[in-house]
Symmetry: C2
């Protein structure tokens, strides 16, 4: 395929949860389709020829590094204006006083456009090249979100949110019936697939029952059917908190995971958020179904009633991605959520109450490293979305970010030290460029 | 006293750990001494006259708010180049492979100047107007830190670090003897007090035994004596981890707190870092001594073996300030540490291991709010340092920061909502101005 541009520099890409590869002074050869055609290392004979032949060469400055763009596997787009608000409120008040009234405003498409324009720009500037969005119950507003993703250069999965149970949803903000939930989801799917013809970056519809407490069983089953019919990804929340976990047990006499699986909503295309209350039996079901968990570590501190045991889940061979869960989490940055992934795993290992003896305080062998957090934000997200992204390697879309570490009078450092420093110290200001499908979007 | 300038705008100041006062459209009248002479509210008769008479008026832009500058009550200045490094290493390796070799470099005063210039600028730009520093064992290098604070407009307490025990300190980085520890501390005190004559902002020496494991008892006692003689503040680490807590128990058959108290190091001028392993008996001793705890919530996740029960400590009437603990903590920002204060307290309340029943998982009634975190970063720090700072009120130094909340298409918000949003969403970019002693330093 024709070569479009070459990026020359050093970078990092995750190999597995414990290993990050340092790619020193490579050429990333990007083709017309926006994919990485080839990685050329300095010891290859045609390194200089590739450089000479390239129609465009972008050379990274000193102290700059290339990383895969990040994938936010769980974010509520309409809740963006509430980021950092009402986090000391219990879930009930948070939903009914802050969240549902805000989501209901998105009938207004101008309001939708203003918020979604700002949100998608912000995420791209933070290095998030793909996001898996919950939208609202309004198909037209969700299409505006897709337009803003395309406009600002972000790859996305967008969910028409389905919520039909009159018992737990307010009258002013719910689908009229199970049939309406399914019909509106299908309308959105068709319209988005049609819109994709006009877009530069294809945006994917995703089947999105809000969570078990807000959906009737007929709605869940209808949505499972729709997912199968259109072969689409699926997202929801699963065992996020004691309350949610107990809700399914009381209503169905079954666990969240089982109810979702029986409705046809747990398969290799599923991304389930949170999961702090999942148990080993659930993890086995996730592993068999090849379903993914979207770990939202900041949000979980407020609403999760405990810490997701990431290391144990990875040992169960279950895939885990990272999510910001705006506005259950306050930060739109996956850098912040990578840091919180490490902090939460450390806290799980240490425990919290020092009046308890050391050996009984926490859960041994729970700590994960910066490398694991980076794996979740890149490869984990790619596996969750089944897209060719999240790695610097041939065949993947050239969804990339260029980050710069401020040069300080450091002691000599290894590439591993530089990597760790980069995970901990990167913020919006030192993300110098972002590419999606090879096109510069920041 | 003569009026120098007036700042006109709205702001927030902490009243107690649960209450933040919204000061709407006030005039902050700053005198020649750099202190707040008066706060004028719009309903006062001479509001317009004060404005007219002021030699200089600074008016805040829309969406800007005035806050007291923050006080970082625990930060290791020489460790700045290591921020975000080696955080997956055990304490022993962290100290011996990363920390001590770096601290030993500060014999080089050019290196000292380069790092301390960058550090103090960074902190000021993050709204930290006062910092309580651990320096190194080199008096001349610590004086360079004082010069950089004065140059970049930061108020500080600076400690000549004392560490003389040959058993636990490396040969290349320790004081030669207990007598040398005390003599070097006194040299530094005298030189800094003399230097203060040249400075715009007075910098305070602080007695700084590193921690019990690195000091012999004669050094501790000698330093206690010195603190009394010069009436100086004191800082150290106290019960930071299981290891440190057990060290004193094994060596002295006494708790950290008791050994420090008996050496004359625990009084109303003491700021002790961490304290995650302190028990109720210790808290009573802190309360009686009127000593303060420097809470370093990010660092504690890595090295603290549990969470400091901030709410319980405040109920014991013990004062708590906030610290970044660079580089045990990776972030120089007290905004990040305020957020982590909230997150850690939430985690203490929720617990971590969801295999444990809800009611046994965490510690009820532990959660603190954004208001409490703000109180610690301002009033708590002021009480710890015994300086007239940390509040927007007459008699306090005009150490202030101006922060801006990006206007978004928000739903209508209360001043409480705005306050919370400001704590969660402020970063270096939206801290628009910083004042120390009424002088703009950012």
């Amino acid at each position: 395929m024709t070569i479009k541009k070459v990026i020359k520099g050093s970078g990092y890409t995750a190999v597995n949860p414990d290993e990050v590869q340092f790619l020193e002074n490579i050429l990333v050869v990007i083709n017309q389709a926006g994919k990485i055609e080839r990685i050329v290392t300095p010891n290859e004979a045609d390194y200089d020829d590739v450089l000479t032949a390239a129609p465009e060469v972008i050379e990274l400055a000193p102290h700059q590094y290339l990383l895969p763009g990040f994938i936010d596997t769980h974010i509520h787009a309409p809740q963006w204006p509430n980021a950092g608000l009402a986090l000391d409120r219990p879930l009930y008040q948070w939903l009914n006083d802050y969240t549902f009234p805000l989501e209901a405003k998105y009938q207004d498409l101008d309001f939708s456009r203003a918020v979604y324009d700002d949100l998608t720009k912000t995420l791209v500037s933070l290095g998030t090249t793909t996001a898996v969005y919950f939208g609202t119950i309004y198909p037209e507003s969700n299409l505006v979100l897709a337009e803003m993703c395309d406009k600002n250069g972000q790859r996305s999965l967008i969910g028409q949110v389905s919520m039909d149970d009159p018992e737990l949803n307010p009258e002013y903000y719910r689908d009229e019936s199970a049939a309406a939930s399914v019909a509106k989801a299908e309308t959105f799917i068709k319209k988005l697939l049609a819109k994709n013809q006009e877009f530069t970056i294809p945006q994917t519809p995703v089947i999105t029952p809000r969570f078990l407490p807000s959906c009737t069983l007929p709605a869940l089953k209808g949505l499972g059917q729709l997912a199968k019919q259109y072969q689409l990804p699926i997202q929801s929340h699963c065992s996020e908190s004691d309350w949610e976990n107990n809700y399914a047990l009381e209503k169905y006499g079954k666990r969240d995971t089982t109810v979702l699986a029986e409705a046809g909503l747990l398969n290799e295309h599923s991304i389930m958020a949170h999961g702090t209350l999942l148990n080993d039996e659930d993890f086995s079901k996730y592993q068999k179904a090849q379903a993914s968990i979207a770990h939202c570590p900041i949000s979980n501190v407020y609403f999760g009633d405990g810490i997701l045991p990431v290391k144990r889940i990875l040992q169960h061979q279950v895939n885990v991605g990272l999510g910001t869960d705006i506005s259950g989490g306050y930060s739109p940055s996956l850098y912040d959520n990578m840091k919180q992934t490490i902090l939460s795993s450390q806290q799980l290992q240490s425990g919290v109450d020092t009046r308890i003896a050391t050996e009984k305080r926490g859960v041994a062998n729970s700590r994960v490293s910066a490398k694991t957090a980076f794996y979740l934000a890149t490869v984990g997200g790619a596996k969750a979305t089944n897209l060719k992204i999240g790695e610097i390697k041939p065949g993947c879309f050239a969804d990339l970010q260029v980050v710069e570490i401020k040069p300080k009078p450091y002691q000599p450092q290894s590439s591993d030290d530089n990597f760790e420093s980069l995970i901990y110290n990167t913020n919006e200001n030192n993300i110098k460029a972002v590419y999606v499908g090879g096109k510069q979007v920041k």
